[in-house]
Subunit: 345 residues, 2 copies
Amino acid sequence: MAGSATSFVEDTLRLHRDQMASVLARYLPDREPRRWLYDLVATYPSRIGKGIRSGLCVAACRAFGGSTQEAMPSAAAIELLHNAFMVHDDVEDGSLSRRGLPTLHLQHGVALAVNAGDGLAVVGLTPLRENVKVIGSVMSERVLDEFQMLLHRTIEGQAIELGWRSENVMHLTPDDYLNMVLLKTCSYSTIFPLRIGALIGSWGSADLGALTRFGFHLGAAFQIRDDLLNLEGRTEKYGKEILGDLYEGKRSLMIIHLLSVVDDRERQWLNAFLSASRAERSDGQVRKTLEMMREHGSIEFARAFSQGVSAAAREAFNLAFEGLPASDDLRFIEELIPYMLDRDL
Amino acid sequence: MAGSATSFVEDTLRLHRDQMASVLARYLPDREPRRWLYDLVATYPSRIGKGIRSGLCVAACRAFGGSTQEAMPSAAAIELLHNAFMVHDDVEDGSLSRRGLPTLHLQHGVALAVNAGDGLAVVGLTPLRENVKVIGSVMSERVLDEFQMLLHRTIEGQAIELGWRSENVMHLTPDDYLNMVLLKTCSYSTIFPLRIGALIGSWGSADLGALTRFGFHLGAAFQIRDDLLNLEGRTEKYGKEILGDLYEGKRSLMIIHLLSVVDDRERQWLNAFLSASRAERSDGQVRKTLEMMREHGSIEFARAFSQGVSAAAREAFNLAFEGLPASDDLRFIEELIPYMLDRDL
């Protein structure tokens, strides 16, 4: 049964991905300068992603009675802005791989990559402007309100995460982590895709606060799974560098747990490890940190924590979608909850 | 007389700058996270700029019969997006100083600076959305069309300039330079500030093509002067690193001229100089390149070229503003033409 639920989610994600791929192709400029700009702009969108974000937006719209077509420009904008954000995020983190291939700045240098990220964001404005023709000007304005909030929060969350690393902040709690994830990951991965889809589908009558709560728990489970996959995933599925978070000194839930349980000597060692630059962190140190996480139960803690988050997501799901007729879209959204705990890509 | 014309332009720029400073203060978010985001977002806007861009937008609007108030959200968006672009431009170029102080990435690192640049762009959306209340939805949509073009062209021009450097392109003509400047500098410094102001002020009746032509010549004169000031300006006025363009390997009009007149031996030397990284370029090499420019008349060439461009700007001015009643705004725009040739900040 679990197997068939997973395959239903994966089949549905594939449908959303395929549909989005052909939609995105329409928005990506097919003109000069290709070599230094629009080829780079198209790089991440052409690599196969998960399809969760646009899938959630379209499914929420349809679950609330709207059509695919009404959600599509907004879903496309979410994908494009997400891709723009990934390009800059990879530069900011010094990441090496994305969706199974080298990051854009490794391929073309930081300068052209930062500019291409800006280009992707600008391309993302096109579908947002087309919304007027599809859902009218009043609803378009409300969708733009949502996008402004999405963008502000994502950038605020990113600032907090980068700030922690740049100042080597050591005293963090799981609540600090959840607050950062709420802003950074959940905003663009779950909360606003859901809110925007539901807003359009319900023609403004959906309880967006309830969707925010559901999106928060769903997105937190997604992010914790991402942190875990970074430690233990398989490269060919995960698409990012395994252990990359440790090389980058990222404040994952496991690191936060580890720092809260180690003794003074270990803490001192971790402090030195985390305050070093990426280039200074050796393979041996990364391995040692992973071993410490295993010994101290940090990985088990994150797993258990994500199960708690997942249970909260289930409660929130019931409230957010109460009274809606059964549909494949609703089933997809609901089955994403356990999927977030077990996904391996 | 020349002195009084210059002081009229400078006085007018100061008025525009002061007005814009208080407008921008309203848009810059006064909330957390300050230390890692909104303090950085406010950094460049709080340094005193030239005021040319927002000044042109407001003056063009009023010259065509509109009000300051109608132009203000668009002028504010231009300033904010310009500041966003500067933050990323400084990262991309590896620049050291901006408006007389260290660049944002030197102060806070590349990661937080790139994110703050994104933050500035997002803040720039707020005034654009307010346009609906000030100039109505139809005109707002037309203004958004202009902003989309502005953003695409700026990023395209930047890609070309960065691409020249990243691949060490040596065979460039003044036409290549003008095409790049048309996209990169002119779009956001002159062409679209003028077009957007005129569009609003004339309620859509202005000949925007004529304004593009004027803006192109005015902006090219502005950029060539900027290139010259980078070689010969005074740090305290200019605000950027003197000779920074040479350290960065930028394809200025002088470098393009120099490459076209040197002998094979010199060309080989310049090729090595330009293909090196910034860190590899020594003070002595930069001095030698400057000396070669002086010997080969590259600086004189750029000065003469900019005078030709300036004459074209005068012709284009007459066509673009034909039949409008005399006003201080029109005088300001007209006197910007000679000012561009002589400005020292």
